[in-house]
């Protein structure tokens, strides 16, 4: 347990809550239903706030990178700019094109929004701060995050617009070609942890900083770099944001969406960015562990610090790199990333078999 009593002491609070719940005399299945809905709702609220913060943070960072201020007039340094955006999008008329594919058009943003939050069930925010410690944690997360590209394809097809269709097709091609290197670079870590559960992965990196997987030369850094590249493609961020390429396809898949439907896509994009960096932190940067052995900060603070650092890295990509073309993007994935990650996997296996790791 951490030295300093802080929010990390959540177990006591949870334990007291469960006893109170059990005392109400509900039968067993209903008990879990209530418990998980409460946990899920808490996680949703936290993530919605983080997403709103990320939107504002990205506009501020973009501003300062581009020698300007970003939102300033709406509150001190524009802090409630994103809230104003959200409430405005609430009031917007929801235009439904007659020639749309009704069901597909309606369910695309819903799927994108829901899936973006589902991935957080298995991500540990801190010591014990996990909704459900699934024993197939990372496999579940990878499976869920592929749904976003399906929803983009649905949006592209549903809105019956040539630009949207092109955007949808591109997102499908991109997701397929970057899933393989993503999984391969994660497998190297699983090789050394031996278990798919995220908590075990983080515990395998406890102790001093050099235990983190990123510092386990030679396979660690390579896996981290390939993971970050594949993850930027999964989260549709520049230089891989071809499904929503502003200059070529007007607005890619969300050409026909307005009002709340567009807000769902917009928010899901940022939540995906946060998911991808949360996974990167859990796998490579030692989850909630501090750099020294007994850390002086509560565990979840370390987690958020590291995640926002990785998100900052993704944002730096967005405002410095031009965009890749569709065929270059896939060529880069199949001809460069896949061989590198497989070689890394074999290298990891050799090291594991020969025992040269710490």
């Amino acid at each position: 347990m951490n030295g300093i009593i802080a929010f990390g002491e959540l177990h006591g609070v949870f334990a007291w809550l469960y006893d109170l719940l059990a005392s109400t005399g509900l039968s067993q299945p209903w008990l879990d239903v209530v418990r998980y809905t409460v946990l899920g709702a808490m996680m949703f609220v936290v993530l919605a706030l983080i997403a709103l913060f990320l939107v504002w943070w990205e506009r501020k960072i973009a501003g300062h990178i581009q020698q300007r201020f970003g939102p300033m007039r709406n509150g001190w340094h524009g802090w409630y700019q994103t809230i104003a955006d959200a409430v405005k999008l609430l009031q917007k008329e929801d235009i439904l094109v007659d020639a749309r594919d009704k069901m597909v058009f309606f369910w695309a943003p819903v799927l994108c929004f829901v899936v973006a939050f589902l991935a957080y069930i298995a991500i540990p925010f801190g010591e014990g701060l996990i909704v459900a410690d699934l024993n197939i944690g990372i496999l579940y997360i990878i499976a869920i995050t592929t749904f976003t590209s399906i929803s983009l394809l649905m949006a592209g097809w549903g809105s019956n617009n040539k630009y949207a269709l092109l955007g949808g097709m591109r997102s499908a091609a991109q997701a397929v070609s970057y899933e393989v290197p993503l999984v391969a670079s994660i497998l190297v870590i699983i090789l050394f942890v031996g278990s798919l559960s995220m908590v075990d992965i983080v515990n395998a990196q406890s102790g001093f900083m050099y235990n983190w997987f990123i510092f386990r030369v030679p396979f660690g850094p390579i896996a981290f770099v390939t993971y970050i590249i594949a993850a930027t493609a999964e989260a549709n961020r520049t230089p891989f944001d071809i499904p929503e390429a502003e200059q070529e396809l007007v607005a890619g898949y969300n050409v026909e969406y307005s009002g709340m439907k567009f807000a769902m896509f917009f928010l899901a994009e940022f939540v995906n960015g946060f998911t991808v960096s949360a996974i990167a932190v859990t796998l490579f940067l030692g989850g909630w562990h501090g750099p020294l052995d007994g850390s002086f900060l509560p565990s979840w603070v370390w987690f958020f610090l590291k995640t926002f650092a990785v998100v900052f890295l993704l944002m730096m990509f967005r405002w410095t790199y031009p965009r890749l073309r569709v065929d270059q993007l896939m060529e880069f994935a199949w001809k460069f990333l896949v061989p590198v990650t497989f070689a890394n996997l074999i290298l990891g296996a050799i090291i594991k078999y020969a025992g040269w790791y710490w």
């Binding site: 201020f69 007039r73 524009g78 104003a84 009031q91 307005s258």
Partner: protein
């Protein structure tokens, strides 16, 4: 906008319901005013001034205005430049594509009454008032970025004074 339109009717019946609508009205107006997304629609010389206003020296983003490429997701259509007779039906269609709480800023002399092309030009629309309803006119050929920003501030003031009942008839 469905729920928000009907709300004042229900709220009036409840005693003290007026406070609910006025406070809600203030919140909605403030939100609409503080996050105007303008459509990237530059036809002529004013488009260059629009770009300069969007750039780092005058920066639209301070007011919370970012450009959107599709009319669906934009609230303000900033007609920057001359509208010719061939472009007028396109402008009308773009305006129809925008979702409802939408506003128009007519930037530059050409959009007010044809500007320098009022005389002797057979293909310039003398102003765009008869094509789409205009909220704010910004004179100048091309107007300075400061006057463009002032026009946007005026639009924000106008939005803040709107009533929920305005949306009843629309």
């Amino acid at each position: 906008m469905g729920i928000i339109k009907k709300l004042p009717v229900y709220a009036e019946k409840v005693p003290g319901g007026g406070i609910v609508t006025t406070s809600l009205e203030m919140v909605l107006n403030q939100a609409r005013a503080r996050s105007l997304w303008y459509l990237l629609f530059g036809t002529a010389c004013c488009a260059i001034e629009l770009m300069c206003t969007g750039a780092s020296r005058y920066d639209f983003d301070r007011l919370g205005m970012i450009f959107r490429a599709t009319p669906r997701q934009s609230d303000v259509i900033l007609t920057a430049g001359t509208i010719t007779t061939k472009m007028a039906p396109r402008l009308r269609r773009l305006y129809d594509q925008m979702s409802e709480p939408r506003y128009v800023i007519a930037m530059g002399g050409c959009t007010i009454n044809g500007g320098p092309f009022y005389y002797d030009s057979y293909s310039v629309e003398k102003g765009i008032d008869h094509i789409i309803p205009v909220d704010i006119h910004i004179p100048g050929c091309p107007p300075r970025p400061e006057s463009l920003l002032e026009g946007c501030l005026h639009l924000q003031e106008k939005i803040k004074k709107e009533k929920l009942s305005d949306w009843q008839e629309k």
